[in-house]
Symmetry: C2
């Protein structure tokens, strides 16, 4: 923990805010929306596989960020919920595909067997494809009371975020970097800004765009999101070293065994924690113009560096 | 060949139309648009893999259908080209994933090694994901002079067409049916209306929607598309039996070796040809109100039953 003035201010400002209740309330909203977004029809197996991973729990951080910025910019939960669900569908799809034997070859995710361990590789690939496609269909057909050009902007951003300029590009560089011991901080940052950061940024920004935020406000929230995105990844790397499988809900210590270059392996644990904390301070600084209205975003930023899984 | 009155009319109407020149002109337009749609940036490997399959040739039937119905409904090539490219990106993505070892395990496609044989399974999965995501980004960002709500309708249809209610659902039932010898015609039709028909239908319909076609016109073109979609698949099955690998550009006789149930295996070759021909006549009947303006669609319908690969 650093003890700069900004940090003390940031800490004090969120003391009043009950983040646990806030997250819990939004999470229930998201869980209900996800559950009703996808019913099982023929062929049953694919819908079951899609639901298995989509409803496997998790923090639902991305949809919650979307709902939160939409409210901050004067919108409602209702107008943001379809996009919030789409963000979680996209996130789930990327986890299913990343876990495949041809990729990271993981057996557990969120404390449960990975999709391909339950349904087989073929169905897991198709469940990912299905969720990705459905994300666009769902946001495009279910969004109400949003200016059509704003919805198109959001759909375009969702596409960019998953593709080679986002998640896919980050995963490719991640796969290429595995087993190499001369990965630079720049490469690591590229991987993470694409693999984790891009979707978090789109989560934050899409809620604001749906609510009709100005370009300046979108830029400000982008910066907030980029900071918490990188902090999130640094903390992920830290937790992989410091947590047990039970705490993490997935295999821990895996980065070390896979000889993956991580922030702790480049910077050491203490410096990694300090960098994450500084990024969060930068994120919170962006929120000053919004006063108390931005307390949820402040608290979420702090939560990212203090979370245990 | 049947010799009903409708068929003779259909045949005569397209005699005047030079389909080869028409397809050639549109194909060049599509090839150029696809080539410029996707440039290579970092990480190079994924963009190369995406371009490898996207620019591997093929008839470009889906984008051409989109351009053709857009023109029929009074629109221009320009307003339909981004969606036309998106349709081909989606089609290419489905081919890359279907060819994977965990699915149909094919080594050749369009006379070239399949994506995973060149780039590896991990990159092939990601190249498919990247193309699917980019299809939405590209159509959403590049489409000009289209009413935003019509573009949203098209994006929603693209999503539905790929997902569990379309391509993905068809592929799941196809995988489940492999090796089973008691597949009904209904199951086979479900597979094909989802796996092949859905994307052809969306190709036809999206061009019309972009041009601002009425609901009634969209319905009429849907029916045309459903007919040629099923005819296309029946002819595909026929060609797998009657063609060589060189004619087909992919492994031939594969359905038989894989013990796949096909139309020829259910109906025999002659009856399959007759059914395909009848579907084409039905498709052409839908075009009567459009007179000579619909000659390209008539000729394309006829081409589907007479093609050699």
């Amino acid at each position: 923990m650093v003890t700069t003035g900004e940090n003390l201010v940031a800490q004090r400002e969120v003391l009043h805010f009950d983040l646990a209740s806030y997250l819990n309330e939004k999470q229930q909203l998201v869980e209900a929306a996800l559950d009703s977004s996808l019913s099982i029809t023929c062929p049953k197996k694919i819908y079951e596989a899609m639901r298995y991973s989509l409803l496997a729990g998790g923090k639902r951080l991305r949809p919650i960020l979307c709902l939160t910025t939409c409210e901050l910019m004067g919108g409602t939960n209702e107008i943001a919920l379809p996009t919030a669900c789409a963000l979680e569908m996209i996130h789930t799809m990327s986890l299913i595909h990343d876990d495949l034997p041809a990729m990271d070859n993981d057996d557990y995710r969120r404390g449960k067997l990975t999709n391909h361990k339950v349904y087989g590789e073929d169905i897991a690939i198709l469940a990912g494809d299905g969720l990705l496609a459905y994300a666009f269909e769902y946001a495009a057909t279910q969004t109400r009371n949003v200016a059509p050009h704003n919805l198109i902007t959001v759909l375009a951003r969702l596409g960019r975020t998953v593709g080679a300029a986002g998640l896919v590009g980050g995963q490719v560089l991640d796969l290429e970097s595995e087993g190499q011991d001369d990965i630079s901080v720049d490469t690591l940052k590229f991987i993470h800004t694409h693999k984790t950061g891009a979707l978090l940024e789109t989560s934050v920004v899409s809620g604001a765009i749906l609510a009709g935020a100005s370009e300046e406000e979108v830029q400000r929230l982008s910066q907030y999101a980029q900071n918490i995105g990188l902090a999130f990844q640094i903390v992920d790397d830290i937790l992989d070293v410091t947590s047990t499988k039970e705490e993490l809900g997935k295999t821990s210590g895996k980065d070390l065994r896979d000889q993956k270059v991580t922030y702790p392996s480049l910077w050491g644990l203490e410096e990694s924690k300090r960098q994450a904390q500084n990024l969060v301070i930068g994120a919170i600084t962006e929120l000053i113009p919004y006063g108390a209205k931005a307390d949820p975003l402040r608290a979420i930023a702090n939560f990212i560096v203090t979370r245990k899984n």
